[in-house]
Symmetry: C2
Subunit: 877 residues, 2 copies
């Protein structure tokens, strides 16, 4: 039936939900069905059929052409169709529609609507309505609506239909038996109670409202779970206790959210809450690590050596001809700054964050399990919600028709789909390449311009500024490409024509994730692992595209630049995406609306007041699914875990963002979007797998960042293998190789060799190579290989140790919280006891007629008497 509903959304424009109760979930709180009228004072106009008795559970809307049989009032808004379109495109835009499959049929239908004859459409609608009636639904049409050009079909689901659907969905009905949740005497329980008391002000004020509508009838339905209590007008309460910045420090009223939006949305906000909560310790440790870096910057021997003016080291030029020799002391600032993100604490923090990611996953698994229990989803199978897509069925039908005509078309379409695959691959790799190229180009051109200036001090002070500018340009490219990639992923997935909604969604998410992830992380990966690696050496630099020399990093590694890029990407992406897209665009929309309504403002005012509830909802933006929200968070999670070794403040930034994000999303869901169709869900689906994948990749990436991007391993190797006194004194000298300036290739030597005021015969460069006086001059030295081996050994050890620790933590923490498993067990025992008592009563009655020692012989032949379980016996009334 639901399937059919979806199929016909190609004919009807859109589905609007006007009721607090949504079709599928209403069974659970049906006891409060009737009193709803009193609780919702604004429903006089809207949510009832014209008889004032039957409630409107669902509304379908459709477009009425002027050629239709019923003429409606004159078009009040002038070119009404245009405004409608503008409106739709705006609302679609603000909620980042590209990820939403459900929106597509609508748009498609609108575009193709001229293809259908109006009479044909009306006929199909009639057929559909007949089908709806056959399933037991009751319908009422409203084509004389205040909004012209749109017809409404109101649907009422009577009690028996609800009962039937609830049975299919295996909705759990509470029995009359109430049991006490154990307030145990053990220490754990006491600690939990204490924590609960301490955090009491953090809990949202939703319990107090319970007494307002406590009714004896409702009470029979309520289990000892508070959220299952009477359902009141949640919208207002949600707005106050959830969708407000003033309650940012409080827990979210998850139960209420689930009640109002369904489990799927509830799980998203629960997940977001757990993630934000888990970010708090990570942010604190991150800040401590950063502060440790700040505090020890003056004790850092390598940067001290670099900054020491007595250390008169002449460095080789950083570019051909234009650059000249320079003194190492000019790199002092960068070296000091690098220490902030490149110290022993960073390694510890990497390990910590890898374990943190595992802990977070574990914590979420437990929370999800708890929610499943509290929301009575334990017996719910996921596959029941998985319906074939309307588009898929349409294609299959098309294919069948074509097959009847000729087999040729099928072959052609197969060829076509092969081609699509190729295209997909091509697009993907091309884009990736482009981006890397761009980043590279930006950095290089700006740097090259600066290098033309021959004042090294100026150059090194400005270096950070250049990097920052480059990072910002990068960021803008990322954001623009993000939107393009979203469209590409959607286009590709639609070409695939997946069979079911679930597979469509999963494929789309996976594609979008890959593309957006690559988009967000390509410049970072480039900076972390490739920048400055393949530069060659003085006299034998590596040139690409003919004469273009590869970039070098500043003296103290690329970690500093990586850090700036991460910082800008994280802050910028969140600021722009949050503020511009999620706050700015809605504001813009309102302004547009205002300007528009200046023409006939009074008229509209009147109109707005007389609009029915479902007509008002029609004017809101459509709900486009949770995927954009999840995607944003996953990319953020990637930033927080993947390169945490180079940017310990990432968790803090993420935390600050999320605190705003929760309330922002809440506001959007409560006030700006149409109410979504409640969807049942046991878990967060593919997102969990993506998170797990990310936290696995994070371990490896962090291992490589520490081993190759930071100077941690070379320092260690120097200290324990080469240092004469076991300290880092002399480390800087050890990392620099010698170069005889007579070995410069002709045409690459500096134009101003006397720039430093003296003639340079031997300059230094950062690499481990044999000196010019060795028999194997400029070859990679033994130290290089030793350090490389140490780096690689570190990667192996780090990866395996962290993986082992993660698996251990995973194994240590049970997936089902102890108290929940105890309660489930207790419930089962209570059920069995109830059943046994009933049983025994019968048996004793039968036994009284017989001797206690001999056993009735007929027992063997007696026909079985099947009984249904108490659960299914529970009465609705």
């Amino acid at each position: 039936m639901i399937n059919k509903l979806k199929y016909y959304t190609l004919l009807y424009n859109t589905i609007v939900i006007v009721n607090m109760k949504y079709f599928k979930r209403c069974f659970e709180f049906l006891s409060c069905f009737q009193p709803m009228k009193d609780l919702c004072p604004d429903t006089v106009l809207g949510p009832y059929f014209s008889d004032g008795m039957r409630r409107v559970d669902y509304v379908l809307t459709y477009h009425i052409q002027k050629s239709g049989s019923t003429r409606r009032r004159s078009s009040r808004f002038g070119d009404n169709n245009f405004i409608q379109r503008l409106w739709r495109s705006l609302s679609t835009r603000s909620s980042r529609a590209p990820l939403q499959p459900k929106e597509d049929p609508e748009v498609a239908a609108q575009e193709h609507q001229t293809d259908y004859h109006e009479d044909d459409k009306r006929f199909k609608r009639d057929e559909f309505e007949e089908n709806l009636r056959k399933t037991g639904l009751e319908l009422e049409k409203d084509e004389e609506s205040t909004i012209p050009g749109i017809g409404f079909l109101k649907i009422h689901a009577p009690w028996n239909v609800l009962c039937r659907e609830a049975e299919f969905m295996k909705l759990k009905m509470p029995t009359k038996k109430v049991y006490e949740v154990k307030q145990g005497s053990n220490v754990v329980e006491k600690i939990r109670m204490f924590i609960h008391k301490v955090t009491a002000p953090l809990h949202p004020k939703v319990n107090t409202s319970r007494s307002q509508c406590e009714k004896p009838l409702c009470h029979a339905f309520s289990r000892e779970k508070q959220h299952l209590d009477i359902f009141i007008d949640c919208s207002q309460l949600l707005y106050e206790q959830w969708a407000s910045y003033s309650v940012f420090y409080k827990y979210q009223p998850i139960g209420l959210i689930r009640k109002y939006f369904g489990e799927k949305v509830g799980l998203y906000f629960a997940w977001l809450g757990v993630y934000t909560q888990m970010l708090i310790p990570a942010a604190i440790i991150g800040v401590i690590v950063f502060l440790y870096g700040c505090a020890t910057v003056d004790d850092n021997i390598p940067s001290m050596e670099i900054c020491d003016p007595r250390n008169n080291i002449t460095m080789c030029p950083l570019c051909d001809q234009a650059c000249s020799y320079w003194k190492l002391v000019t790199a002092c600032g960068t070296a000091r700054a690098s220490h902030l993100f490149d110290n022993a604490a960073t390694v510890f923090f990497s390990v910590f964050m890898a374990l943190w990611a595992v802990l977070f996953m574990e914590h979420w698994k437990r929370r999800q399990m708890r929610l499943n229990y509290v929301w009575d989803l334990t017996g719910f199978g996921e596959e029941e919600e998985d319906h074939n897509r309307a588009e898929y069925e349409f294609r299959v039908m098309q294919k069948k028709l074509k097959q009847e005509h000729s087999g040729l078309m099928v072959k052609l379409s197969q060829l076509f789909s092969d081609k699509i695959c190729c295209c997909c691959h091509l697009t993907f790799s091309q884009n990736e390449f482009n981006l890397t190229g761009k980043t590279h180009l930006i950095n290089s051109t700006s740097l090259a311009a600066l290098h033309m200036s021959s004042h090294p001090v100026v150059r090194y002070n400005i270096r950070a500024t250049v990097k920052t500018t480059a990072a910002i340009i990068n960021l803008i490219i990322i954001i623009v490409l993000d939107e393009i990639y979203g469209a590409i992923a959607r286009w590709l997935t639609r070409l695939e024509v997946p069979k079911t909604d679930k597979s469509f969604e999963e494929r789309l998410i996976f594609k979008t994730f890959i593309l957006k992830f690559v988009n967000a992380f390509t410049p970072i990966v480039y900076l972390a692992f490739f920048r400055g690696r393949l530069v060659g050496r003085p006299g034998n630099y590596l040139y690409v595209v003919g004469s273009y020399r590869m970039e070098e990093c500043a003296h103290a590694g690329c970690l500093m630049e990586l850090c700036i890029q991460l910082c800008i990407t994280m802050l910028g992406k969140q600021l722009i995406q949050n503020n511009l897209f999620e706050i700015g665009i809605p504001k813009l929309k309102k302004m547009l609306r205002k300007r528009k309504s200046e023409l006939d403002s009074i008229q509209e005012q009147v109109l707005h007041n007389t609009l029915k509830r479902y007509e008002k909802d029609q004017l809101l933006g459509p709900f486009v699914g949770l995927n954009p929200e999840y995607m944003e968070m996953i990319i953020q999670f990637g930033m927080v875990t993947l390169f945490v070794a180079s940017f310990p403040l990432a968790p803090l930034f993420a935390l600050l963002n999320n605190i705003i994000e929760i309330r922002l999303d809440a506001k959007k869901f409560v006030t700006e979007l149409r109410r979504p169709i409640a969807a049942k869900a046991k878990d967060i689906g593919i997102w969990y797998n993506l998170l797990r994948g990310l936290s696995k990749v994070a371990v490896i990436v962090n291992a490589f960042v520490i081993a190759f991007t930071s100077d941690f391993i070379p320092r260690l190797v120097y200290q324990y293998m080469y240092s004469p006194d076991g300290t880092l004194h002399g480390f800087v000298n050890h990392t620099l190789s010698y170069f005889n300036v007579t070995d410069f290739d002709p045409g690459t030597e500096p134009l101003q060799p006397m720039h430093l005021g003296y003639k340079v015969s031997v300059c230094r460069y950062k690499d481990y190579r044999d000196p010019p006086w060795s028999s194997t001059k400029y070859e990679l030295s033994k130290e290089f290989w030793a350090i490389l081996a140490a780096r690689l050994a570190f990667v192996i050890v780090f990866q395996n140790v962290v993986m082992l620790m993660s698996d251990f933590v995973d194994w240590l923490i049970p997936d089902i919280p102890k108290d929940i498993s105890l309660q489930i067990h207790k419930e089962k025992i209570l059920m069995v006891e109830l059943f046994m008592k009933e049983e025994q009563g019968k048996r004793f009655a039968a036994r009284d007629n017989q001797d206690n020692c001999t056993i009735p012989l007929s027992a063997n032949q007696s026909p079985p008497q099947p009984r249904s379980r108490p659960v299914s016996q529970a009465n609705c009334s």
Copy 2:
């Protein structure tokens, strides 16, 4: 109730199952309950109560002391108690009891039985029997049994009790509706049919027996799943079609096994079958890899160079004083043999086996899912079977009692448990150390003795023999320690007093696994990674324990020795454990029995014929669980996957062993052990996790074996970095460093320096060190570090690539087979349709009284009419 049954096994000696039908499963085929009498002709004496009507479902046995009230016939077997004990200890031994928790209470009870007064025990038994009666069971005592000293309590579970239990267990009842499993028109289905036809002779002949007992009543119960058909005397059929070596090439009759032994045992054999089946391709590829090694042994440049007599390389002595210089050409044989296991194909085979392990896990998951569906276990929750252990409850009771007396005891016991933890750790590490020490000692002493002889040719030909002898000694130590470790694990776990049976089993398995695994793999790990690594260099050897020099490997790496060790361990362990313990000991038992019965053979003959079925069963060995069987297979799986890089024939050996193992286990289960209590299980539990853990570890271990044990990486590095002509010519020379004999420490130079017939001034040794004429003489050379870096890089690449590929394969193959998920879906749709039709019939009847367009207003207020699902409505009769 089951819980109580278990608790009281401390009072009763043992639980014997005499019936083909076991207590918990009989509900499913109850329709064939009555005709059983005809089908089992040998049941006249046994399985009925004295009234000949009620069937014996369960038998409890207990010990009757002479002080008991009822005196029985004179003890016919002399010291009956002794024989009983011997009997029990033998049967316990042969089935490797150490892992079985259920046996413990019995033994404990027997040991402590003198503590209880007989009257006290009788009183408790009476109480227990009364409890049993309360649950609806019917009892009959038989204390006048033919076996003296043992009383039997026969239990009959009447129909209504079975019905109730079946409801608690949520046993699925087939509805009357029969649906066709789609024999689809698509290609996959056709291929499946074809394969089925081709493999028809491989299927066991169990279907033919269906027609023998087809009855109309049974047919109503049967779904379209053949195994759900009528249950006949399985024992005989199982013996013929399963527990016979003549059917070794056939599939196992898994359905029948499950019917007779329950799901847990069924899953074990299904798993064993899948494992054996999956070993076939692995064995084939392994043999090909081995043959490739044989075929290319003559083209192998390094071994050609070693065997070339023109290559006149003088090597440094392998031990102090006693050994002298030797010529590299004498290592020719070993070098050629090493090539068999150390070539490019080995690397490929390692990757293949890592993926094979993943494929195996995936295949098993799917098979398990299929079995779950076919066996109707999809709705069965694991936790329902998890009962508290009797011992745990006993301890808790004890603790409570003590707590009432004084809090001191509790503290003491806590202290005690802390101590246990320490002990555990200590024992573990000590044992490990001992073993390594021993292996080392064996190898070294035998080798040292041989080295005393100064004939190098003899020495090198005998080398393999020595290794083999050492490996055999090792094997014996492993087998002996295996038994000890089993006992230690059991003892440790019992000290922990885990709460439930499940947690007890899991903890025990985990401990046993760790201990046995360490035991089996310590010598192999030592050989693979430590042997010959830390030997130092000539003139500066590493000495341990004062003057004991570390062992060296033969010239061509330790891979050869590792291979011999693996080969012997695998073959030997399997041969000894299978043949000696599983075939030999039962034979011995029979012989013992025969000798014993020579005294009164005729008397016993008579006795044996008159024994009732349950008395005969009492004489069989007790079922001690599946854990020893699983453990054996897991260790074998470890051998097959962990060091496969060094021994490509491992899968073949494993395959041959398993083909025998299946039938051996089958024979044991069918003929030699008491029938186990059928246990429901959805999966193989902790074993799956252990398998997964092993296949993860296997990736890393294989990476290290290839990188460090084999010469694969040095060869590659030489070929691409150092070789003048890009071939391996000169590789042997490159791996040998120079040593100036004047640099020998005084007292370590050879006693016979002129042994080769000429004066040696510079000898060679296998290492990458700078030559004596270098400024950094005898230091590790640049080549060493380069090769080390290459080795480590290989480990990282190998590990991550294989892990990625594994994850990809894991992701690619759906866990639920497509046809199964389709069938589940179809079942659901059919159920819904059935329900909808019923529904619609009612609705149309109601609608005829009203207008088609207006909707009945009263629908809203009509009281709900809950219906139970068709499943629970299905009638038993």
